[in-house]
Amino acid sequence: MSVQGLIRMGDNTLVLGQRVSEWCGHAPALEEDIALANTALDLIGQTQLWLGLAAEREGKGRTADTLAYHRDAWDFRNLLVVEQPNRDFGVTMMRQFLFDAWHLEALKALTEHEDAEIAAIAQKSVKEVTYHRERSSDTVIALGDGTEESHERMQAALDRLWPYVGEMFSTDEDDLMDVSALRPAFDAYLETVLAEATLSRPDSDFAHMGGKTGARHTEHLGHMLATMQVLPRSHPDATW
């Protein structure tokens, strides 16, 4: 069992949770604000579990918090898609939808993992992420189908984020499972949602890589961490 694999799961939820929390107080409607905060809250809760287990298995005296707050960008192992900026609400919800569609398949597979603690975290997360996927799918459908403007925005969001989809299915020995095996289920689900949303899957399958291996993150991650980590880094002796 790889500590890196656990860190990958936890960094995905941490980085996306942080991104989603940036919306707080600025969403298009009160109901959206509440739902976004709820999603961010679930993701931060999952982060505590994944990074907590990673720190424990690593056995170097670190905690979920030291992993979250005292690593630099190159030690992060999240997918590039989750560090993409929020841009407009359409990009935010498309990013959420693409990640949720992957995340739910990954978690379902992990509920069968031979390591009981991993299976338990997956089991707990599946319930939350089932709801995340339902909500982001409904939003993609409503906004894809809604008005001419919303349709254009959602297609643009999909085109913009599509080059970050391929990385979700690239796999190596550090993963907790063979994530390439999740692609058929992801594609099938994507197809039904995009059809209802009247959106077209982009032709090119070009994929940016480098997030989950840490080889090359985007420029956005460093800025996010500078904000997120400022207090523990500036006051290393403090407890909060």
Binding site: H26, A27, D65, I141, L143
Partner: protein, 325 residues
């Protein structure tokens, strides 16, 4: 207390109906949306409930300012949950206001164009992490002082929303105090942040109760209608009496040299806030007044396409359903 300077509307209804209405209130009955009510009662309540709702919504901003910088995962989760609760409070309160015959969209527009106000406290900035403690401890503490009695207010939907809100507010206040404890017992820098937060939030918190009773000319009718339950000065005194020992426990100094226990009245004597600052804030000259409305305006404008698209999609679905039947 999120409703300040609410003017009671004069009422020119049939005196017999008015007397019967007042008798119901005096007997402790709840007024429900479909019941007859004086026009002034309705208008005053709309203004008061909406101001409270707007305060919850605008109040997300000063706390949202620190969610992305919360110093631990647990603190981030707690703050997210808190701000989510506040959006929820806004939602119940807008629903309560809607039972009086206004729509949420109309109320939002009145907030944005300045016809309606939000609590003066949210026009102040949150500058350090200790402010998250001070907001919970002082601001939510002051809000609870006012909202607990409002659970018994005469308008049913308002009273019921207040019951739910009060449960969550007391959790908010506890988490705020817990942050202050950590800060006040922490490193030198943390102690400094804690004291600085108290210095900046003390007088604005006292202002939350509204001007002195001597100046507060609109209270009488609202008290008779049981939409205002206590006077401003009563609540302010209660707040000071509760908060001073807590500050002592934290080892922090209330920024008021005149503060002293008055044995005779069984409460503290304390300095009044600078009321000219309060009136400036209400006029839109608070340190963050422009930013707060700008942020809400931007959210409203940027979100227009999303709200329109949701409506359009729902209409298409309804049409498809009708066609299928």
């Amino acid at each position: 207390m999120y409703a300040q300077m609410i003017t009671s509307e004069a009422t020119q209804d049939d005196p017999e109906k008015l007397a019967a209405f007042q008798a119901r209130i005096d007997a402790g009955e709840k007024i429900e949306p479909k019941d007859w009510m004086p026009a002034g009662y309705r208008k005053t309540l709309i203004r008061q409930i909406s101001q409270h709702a707007h305060s919850e919504i605008v109040g997300q901003l000063p706390e949202g300012n620190w969610i992305t910088r919360a110093p631990t995962l647990e603190r981030k989760a707690i703050l997210l949950a808190k701000v989510q609760d506040e959006a929820g409070h806004g939602l119940y309160l807008y629903c309560a206001a809607e039972t009086l015959g206004v729509s949420r969209d109309e109320l939002t527009e009145m907030l944005l164009d300045g016809r309606m106000k939000y609590s003066s406290i949210f026009a102040y900035p949150t500058l350090t992490w200790a402010d998250m403690g001070a907001v919970g401890w002082l601001v939510d503490g002051a809000a609870i002082m006012n909202q607990v009695p409002l659970q018994r207010t005469s308008y049913g939907p308002y009273a019921r929303s207040m019951v739910r809100i009060c449960k969550e507010e007391s959790f908010h206040q506890r988490q705020g105090f817990d942050i202050m404890m950590k800060m006040a017992n922490g490193t030198e820098a943390q102690k400094r942040m804690a004291q600085d937060a108290l210095n900046r939030f003390w007088y604005p918190s006292l202002m939350m109760f509204g001007p002195s009773d001597k100046e507060s000319v609109h209270s009488e009718q609202s008290m008779a209608w049981k939409i205002k339950m206590n006077s401003n000065d009563e609540l302010r005194q209660k707040f000071v009496d509760q908060t001073v020992p807590q500050a002592e426990y934290l080892g922090l100094t209330i920024p008021d040299e005149t503060l002293a226990w008055n044995e005779e009245k069984g409460g503290y004597d304390f300095a009044e806030p600078d009321w000219s600052e309060f009136f400036d804030v209400l006029k839109g000259n608070g340190p963050c007044s422009v930013e707060r409305i700008e942020a809400r305006q931007k959210a409203w404008d940027d979100g227009a396409w999303v709200r329109e698209a949701r409506l359009a999609h729902a209409a298409k679905k309804r049409a498809a359903k009708v066609a299928a039947e």
